[in-house]
Symmetry: C2
Subunit: 419 residues, 2 copies
């Protein structure tokens, strides 16, 4: 790639356009609510321009300065960490019921909260999750269209490219983002349509298999993940409640479904560090029994991980299992993005906590036997080029799904349904 | 002043401390809601630090990027300008009823909306004002403590110091802000206490006079402003509904009271341009009859001004009259700040639109004969070193209040009440 020739203005503008048109798929007279770091103001302006041109009746931006979280964690009185501003989340809930679309720009300093009291962080995380539960329930159930896109935050860039000058690191991270979000391709819209079609075909094939469980094996991992009866594999775009399609994650490489909250057994070793609340949790090793984590260790950040899984009853059980080929562009970049929404598209993963309604018929987890619930949902990576995955049928028969991180049935062999 | 020796970090920190402790007078376990331009993130962090140290249970920041307003005005479909996100204002209303304090950081590009369609801007202003009415009513009635402080926004600095390099202009504007907000003094807290005491003494003296009207005379101005019966002069700090004092404006040099909405007659010429919605309205000349503006002209921005006073029935009548000596530090700086909240402290002024409950016994304008109401409240400057002001009693007797912009009774002669 010719570094000097990349037109950042053009690519930022394309990313904004894809976020509005393919990510949220904003409709005329719809309100767009954008969550963004303050540093991303130029990208936000490009998004607002495309949104108004698409007929948005309003673009409301919630800018966040993550440093304020650190200031709170350091300077706040100990009594305050069980408080969360419900008035803020309830306002978003109302905007959602009034039909808004939501676009979140992620980009954060992975080391922001390093050294902060993990108990304070866990209390704060829980109180915010509770205050946001109704609102997040709407989005999780795709009552509204939403999307998440990346932004090359300087502190994030420096964490991904340590030792590089900030300007160079930001440049490199933008290039990685443009590649992963396919806006560097000749026709990003067509490119996305083709990619989404392949993810849909893969998900449809896996749904048809009706596996009872997935079995992950590899170094440090021998994990059987039971799936709920009638589980649906999802991936790529989603039809929201109004029947209009949105693309929740840009980039996205995963297909995912719903584990049974009581049918996960064995041991698993994380294949990448987990960036959580500004800390890197490294070398996670966990044992499951009857769905629950009964032993958890980590070479760094073990306390943070243990606080996380103690958040509530569902935080020590699985809500998602996802398959990503090791050949995915993000995995092949060889970069550790230290950001779950990026890294989860580099490797197969599991998530503790809340399950997604999209993974069962009816779109609601309530009343679904084995569906896990929690105020948290945290993905962590267990796939790599060394991991095999078998599908296990009810009768015990097995079928290879992935070998050394690659799907045994290639996308080219999958007949693409109409997408 | 030794330009090289000013410690910006120290002064910014002091401004933040005064905003929290004297401006909002934040109490332990109170929530603080900050409105700020995205550019002011460093000042916001200093404010959050002082707020958490003062025991804030949360600091919620609403960052705004003013450029988004211009993008909306330029790119938005014509149908959208009667919409305002009520869910946002209602959330602030709820936070207020739950006891939050409010701090607004102002600093804007005075030319931001130059060239935008004034009708779109007027529709948008009205719809936002209506959506915010209940919330602003709480603040106007001081149900909550609040304060407004300045920030040296680069575009603002370049407008105040045209022709200077941006960095130098920002430096000069910060120095002007530090001087006007008295944080450059040896002990800002003591300095503010003394200044507020003088404003309170001046207001108490004027209230005791029980003038029926004020009469402004000078070049282009011969204006009689009738006052409501039982009007109260205010200025400086305010006791909020919880009995705790706040200082709504930093800087503040004015004492002000409530005109009678039907008893304003004569002509008045503005002594400074009015910066409104990103445009400068210059050379305003207005004729009042029986309280209402019956003729309005301006050498620039006349359309914007006429749209403003046509917003609703109360927008062409007065809600405030304020006296500021020409000797005020802001006036003596010789600068046109192109920002009402600054410039209004450089000159006596009037405001069209909503009256303040603080200017009558009971603290509510409802039911007060002659109290004006409107969704707008816009100050504009009519004082200078050439303006005389008389107080007129019920029986027609007159008494000089200001001569050539100076109070006839000096602050030193006023006995300061306990403040």
């Amino acid at each position: 790639m010719d570094h000097s020739s990349l037109d950042f203005g053009l690519h930022t503008d394309r990313l904004a356009e894809i976020a509005v048109k393919i990510g949220v798929n904003l409709q005329p007279q719809q309100e767009l609510i954008v969550n963004a770091p303050v540093e991303a103001v130029e990208l936000v302006r490009a998004i607002a321009t495309h949104a108004y041109r698409a007929g948005a009746k309003n673009v409301a931006v919630n800018f966040a300065d993550e440093t304020l979280s650190r200031i709170q964690a350091v300077e706040g009185a100990d009594a305050i960490f069980d408080y969360a501003p419900a008035w803020r989340y309830d306002a978003l809930h109302r905007a959602a019921t009034e039909g808004a679309g939501f676009l979140t720009i992620f980009g954060a300093d992975p080391n922001l909260l390093a050294g902060c009291d993990p108990l304070r962080l866990a209390r704060s995380q829980k109180s915010h999750a509770l205050a946001a539960q109704a609102f997040r329930g709407l989005l999780g159930g795709f009552k509204n269209r939403w999307s998440i896109i990346p932004y090359a935050h300087p502190a994030w860039a420096k964490a991904v490219f340590p030792g590089r000058p900030e300007e160079e690191a930001v440049d490199l991270l933008w290039r990685a983002i443009f590649a992963a979000t396919r806006v560097a391709s000749d026709d990003p819209v067509v490119n996305w349509q083709g990619h989404v079609g392949q993810l849909h075909a893969r998900a449809a094939l896996l749904t048809q298999k009706r596996f009872a469980a997935l079995h992950f094996t590899g170094p440090g991992t021998d994990l059987r993940v039971g799936l709920v009866d009638g589980h649906i594999w999802a991936g790529g775009a989603v039809d929201a409640a109004d029947g209009i399609r949105c693309l929740p994650n840009l980039p996205t490489e995963e297909v995912f479904t719903m584990p049974h909250r009581e049918r996960v057994d064995g041991v698993v070793r994380a294949t990448k560090p987990l960036s959580f609340q500004g800390s890197l949790i490294e070398g996670i090793e966990v044992r499951f029994e009857a769905g629950r984590i009964v032993a958890a260790n980590a070479s760094a950040g073990a306390d943070i991980f243990r606080n996380l899984i103690a958040t509530d009853q569902g935080a020590a059980r699985l809500g998602e299992v996802a398959l990503v080929p090791d050949a995915s562009p993000i995995s092949q970049s060889g970069l550790l993005f230290q950001n779950t929404l990026f890294d989860e598209n580099a490797a197969s993963h599991i998530a503790i906590g809340r399950a997604f309604g999209i993974n069962v018929a009816g779109g609601q987890i309530e009343g679904v036997a084995g569906a896990n619930n929690s105020v948290v949902h945290v993905d962590w990576m267990i796939g790599s080029g060394e991991i095999d995955v078998d599908g296990v049928y009810d009768n015990g028969d097995r079928e290879p799904v992935m070998r050394k991180g690659a799907f045994t049935e290639t996308a080219a062999n999958i007949k693409s349904p109409q997408s």
